[in-house]
């Protein structure tokens, strides 16, 4: 059909125009629908979407409070907080974890251990959108490299957090304890709100005991984040309440001295201020660097520490349970007098041994030839075992238990020392329960000189000594001295409930002290060498604890075995005698004799505390051994 020839063009146009009008109506209707939709969303439901939009962009983040600082009694900082940069991942926001980890490995040095720990944490239950740390302590170059590649790594953040740092860690690790990452068990017992921003918790020592005080109160901030979770700005902030700064009774100088005195050996020193019970030094040697535990120690390094024959992780001061040996003789003297079993004047003949009955087993005095006629004073001063053997048998286990309990043996008498053990103070019931045997007189013989079943920690020995120094008054051992900012410690430090020991004849206290003075200053005192030339009077008692067994291990050479089979050297004492400022317990493992090894250590501590600390670089003069008493 030729173009347009027979067509009614006017009719076609009218037809089209009618259709166009219909289309116009359709367009108007549909556009009207869109307008109505917009009205619905933007006017009617505006509030709903505003809320949604704010919820999108505004997130509430918790702000961890800075942990309280720990000072010694001279306000020397023992535990502080230091910013550490770490790289963290939010798994919910990381698209492909494998890929992202591979990329990060190209940029940072990530050890297998970091990786292992990260993967372990990835599997553990956790809060959604929680940042999982991958590597701590980034250096500046690594931070810069991450910043450059930031856009390729959604969900990867470099975060700065304040991490605990112990500037004198080797010295204080055992006393302060340390903080570490919150683990699963801890997660269940902490307040999830208050710990929302916190990654660390006190694991041991002061850090653990005063966790609540040191932690503080969590803060919040409302931050604007984008869809990938990056924080763009802070809209509103409620600051956290920092943890309380606390001061300890500890004197870092004394603590350092204690470590120096035990340097190269294994042992523990506990120094107490008798009037307050404040722990001036709490040393366990060898120590370790607690800083390594804060961000998580590598398993190799941990294995090395935990399997070392020197047991650096073992807190000997609180948890080392040794036979107290002759160091309990002053307490036994008090018991003997008060119970009436003996008198100050009573003398016995020491042939060098003691027999329960004629021809029976001989319990030997340390001096085989015997001390001859000795009274109680002589027996403490020369440490005559025979005297105490006889007294112990006559006193019996029940009375011994009663009196020794009063000095804090067999219990943890501390107020705020986390992890302190209670040693072992045997009794009739105990033996029946544990060994299913009755108590034999021979057991009493052993117990009377702190051998046999009895075990005590250095801290317990120092405590008992301090009770004698106080002439029977109790001041439970404690670490916390004050809270900075004038807050009272009354509601924080537990109160002790130990009764002062009342003797029938209170003068017996002075006598007991005198026996200890005789040990130091008497012409036959076992530790007279250690007291020589002192411008003040001191009291003390030496002791020896036998090492009964050591696992045969081919790894150690013979000399080492011999060294480790030597007796532990013990010493307890206080000074000055009339106004005791310091009471100590010293144990040097395999140190040989208490008088030769442990007593000079105590003397050095007394000197430092009473006469002033040696200047730096000044050689420590630890008295040479004199007299080979136990």
């Amino acid at each position: 059909m030729p173009w347009g020839e027979f067509k009614d063009t006017a009719a076609e146009r009218r037809l089209f125009q009618r259709r166009a009008l219909v289309m116009l109506l359709l367009v108007a209707t549909l556009l009207g629908m869109l307008v109505a939709r917009m009205y619905q969303l933007q006017v009617v439901e505006h509030d709903i979407y505003t809320t949604l939009s704010d919820k999108n962009r505004v997130q509430v983040q918790s702000v961890a409070p800075p942990r309280g600082l720990i000072y010694d009694r001279n306000d020397v900082l023992l535990a502080e907080n230091r910013p550490v940069f770490s790289v963290t991942l939010v798994p919910e926001r990381v698209g492909n974890i494998e890929q992202t980890l591979a990329k990060l490995q190209g940029m940072l040095s990530i050890s297998d251990e970091d990786m292992e720990r990260f993967e372990r944490r990835l599997m553990e239950p956790r809060r959604p959108f929680q940042e999982l740390p991958l590597r701590y302590d980034l250096d500046e170059q690594e931070i810069a490299r991450l910043a450059v590649h930031r856009h390729e790594l959604p969900g990867v953040e470099v975060s700065a957090e304040l991490v605990r740092y112990y500037p004198h860690s080797e010295l204080t690790a055992h006393a302060l304890g340390y903080v570490g990452r919150i683990n699963r068990q801890e997660l269940q017992r902490i307040d999830p709100i208050n710990y929302a921003g916190t990654n660390y918790i006190g694991k041991s020592g002061v850090e653990r005991f005063y966790e609540k005080l040191l932690h503080g109160r969590v803060g919040y901030q409302h931050v604007e984040t984008n869809a990938r979770g990056r924080t763009l700005r802070v809209l509103e902030r409620q600051n956290p309440v920092p943890g309380e700064d606390i001061g300890l009774h500890m004197d870092l100088r004394l603590q350092r001295l204690a470590h120096e005195l035990l340097d190269g050996r294994r042992g523990a020193i506990v120094a107490v201020e008798p009037s307050t019970g404040g722990l001036l030094a709490l040393a366990s040697v060898p120590g370790f660097d607690a800083n390594k535990f804060v961000t998580g120690i590598g398993s190799d390094e941990y294995r090395e520490l935990s399997t070392s024959i020197d047991m650096p992780l073992f807190n000997r001061a609180l948890r080392g349970q040794y036979p107290p040996g002759s160091t309990i003789k002053p307490m036994m003297a008090v018991a003997g007098l008060d119970s009436g079993v003996t008198t100050r004047e009573k003398e016995i003949w020491d042939p060098g041994y003691f027999q329960l009955r004629e021809g029976g087993r001989r319990f030997r005095n340390w001096k085989r030839t015997g001390h001859g006629w000795v009274n109680l004073m002589d027996s403490v001063a020369q440490s005559t075992d025979t005297y105490f053997y006889q007294m112990g048998v006559e006193m019996g286990v029940d009375k011994m238990h009663h009196y020794l309990s009063a000095f804090g043996f067999g219990e943890d008498a501390t107020l705020d020392v986390a992890g302190a053990l209670s040693g072992l103070l045997p009794s009739r019931d105990w033996k029946r329960a544990v060994h299913n045997e009755s108590w034999y007189p021979g057991d009493s013989v052993n117990m009377s000189i702190g051998q046999g079943y009895m075990l005590a920690t250095p801290l317990q020995l120092a405590t008992a000594t301090s009770v004698i120094a106080n002439r029977g008054n109790w001041a439970e051992p404690r670490l916390l001295r004050d809270i900075k900012g004038d807050r009272s410690i009354d509601n924080v430090l537990p109160t002790g409930d130990h009764q002062s020991i009342e003797l029938k004849n209170p003068g017996d206290w002075e006598f007991a002290v005198d026996t200890m003075v005789e040990v130091m200053h008497g012409s036959k005192g076992t530790a007279r060498g250690a007291a020589r030339g002192a411008p003040y009077r001191m009291a003390g008692k030496t002791g020896t604890a036998q090492v009964f067994s050591l696992a045969e291990d081919e790894e150690y050479d013979e000399e080492e075995i011999r060294e480790r089979l030597r007796d532990h050297a013990l010493f307890v004492g206080f000074a000055p005698v009339d106004d005791p400022k310091i009471a100590v317990a010293v144990i040097v493992e395999n140190g040989g004799s208490g008088s030769g090894t442990a007593a000079p250590v105590a003397r050095a501590l007394f000197d430092a505390w009473l006469l002033g600390f040696p200047k730096e670089g000044e050689a420590l003069v630890v008295g040479a051994s004199e007299g080979d008493a136990n």
Binding site: M1, E12, L24, V27, L52, S53, A227
Partner: protein, 380 residues
């Protein structure tokens, strides 16, 4: 022919004035003004939607410049050129679509591009947005109008064949636009209302069949997500939830230019391409949306007017269909972003970032200007 005379006269009268220049350049000044307003405003919104990335705005400006040139070129051609070329272009387009299916390149599981060595990559499906209405108009205008049923059938086939080929790529959005362009020609040609009723009856039967046999899994997912976006708030529902949140939080007067938190904090996906209207709604509010929709309405009014006064059936049908295609862009895009329609990859015309569809759209406006400015001075 009274109406035609009137408009012809007005065109002739203007030859001596400033409009004479427009006639020489074959530009319709009203449409030109509206388009430039839209494009200019679009660039302002794009600057915000692209997170103040000037490079994106620059690239878009260059594309829009190219598109304007293409429009001017089309405007210079006489409508009879389109009519004569329509069958050949249609054949070429079909060949191109077939080639895309065989050797095409693309991404995300769809083949849309044809890369012929020596030529720039192009999408035959884009060409079909113009050619299908041309072909249908060419075919129907050769016969008496209103068309007979067999002519309608052929015309619908002209629309359905390329539509089917495009669905196979698969490209639901473009096939929708191509198909409706052909259907609109048929409607404008004067197909009887009874047939229209029959058509809708057919669609309602075909829809379930499409669901089960034609639609891809991701397309079905989009429909399901539309019905209940919360069912998958982090997956497919995310886009709709976030765009509705953007729009709704804009309120009456918006958060202000560059102040949209949804888009700038990257919650809103595709904020400078398909979802750009959400940026506008968030930052300029209900008022901004009214301005945009009124601007679109004015463009459509002007184009329908141009169609209504066109001198021959081919021009009328083509102009009408192209206008309605433009409207479909708007309705589907805004409907999708506001959660009325399923997510279909159709950009907001002349605002969304992207070159190909802008060039095609401006070419269509070139055709409309050609129809308006190549009116023969026939006297009564």
């Amino acid at each position: 022919m009274a109406a035609g005379d009137m408009f012809t006269g007005s065109a002739r009268n203007s030859l001596s004035g400033p409009r004479g220049l427009w006639s020489v350049l074959h530009i319709d000044p009203i449409l030109m003004f509206l388009l430039l307003t839209l494009i200019g405003g679009g660039l302002v919104v794009l600057y915000s939607g692209a997170d103040q990335n000037m490079a994106v705005v620059k690239a878009q400006s260059i594309r829009m410049g190219v598109a304007l040139v293409v429009m001017l070129v089309f405007a210079q051609l006489d409508p009879s050129v389109f009519r004569r070329w329509a069958p050949w272009l249609f054949a070429l387009g079909l060949a191109g679509l077939a080639a895309v299916l065989l050797v095409g390149v693309g991404a995300k599981g769809a083949q849309r591009w044809l890369a012929i060595p020596g030529l720039p990559r192009f999408q035959p499906s884009e060409l079909m947005k113009l050619v299908v209405p041309m072909m249908a108009a060419w075919y129907l205008s050769r016969h008496y109008l209103p068309p007979r049923i067999r002519h309608v059938a052929v015309a619908i086939l002209i629309a359905l064949v390329p539509m089917a080929l495009i669905i196979l790529q698969p490209d639901l959005g473009t096939s929708l636009l191509v198909g409706t362009a052909g259907i609109f020609v048929v409607f404008f040609a004067g197909i009887s209302w009874r047939l229209i009723g029959a058509f809708f009856a057919m669609v309602s039967v075909a829809a379930p069949l499409m669901w089960f046999f034609v639609m891809r899994e991701y397309q079905k997912q989009r429909v399901l997500t539309l019905l209940d976006p919360q069912s998958d708030p982090l997956g497919a529902g995310w886009n709709i939830i976030q765009s509705k949140t953007a729009i709704g939080s804009g309120g009456v007067d918006g958060k202000g230019w560059l102040q949209g938190t949804q888009s700038h904090l990257e919650f809103l996906p595709e904020s400078h391409t398909d979802f750009i209207v959400a940026v506008l709604a968030e930052e300029f509010g209900f008022i901004g949306m009214l301005v945009l929709l009124v601007l679109y309405l004015l463009i459509i009014l002007r184009c329908l007017y141009i169609a209504a006064i066109a001198q021959d059936s081919f021009s009328r049908l083509l102009a009408g269909a192209l206008t309605m295609t433009f409207f479909i862009y708007i309705f589907v895009n805004v409907g999708m972003v506001s959660g009325l329609l399923p997510v279909v990859g159709i950009p907001l015309p002349l605002v969304s970032y992207g070159g190909t569809s802008s060039v095609t759209l401006m070419a269509a406006f070139g055709v409309l200007m050609s129809i308006q400015t190549h009116r023969r001075m026939i006297s009564a």
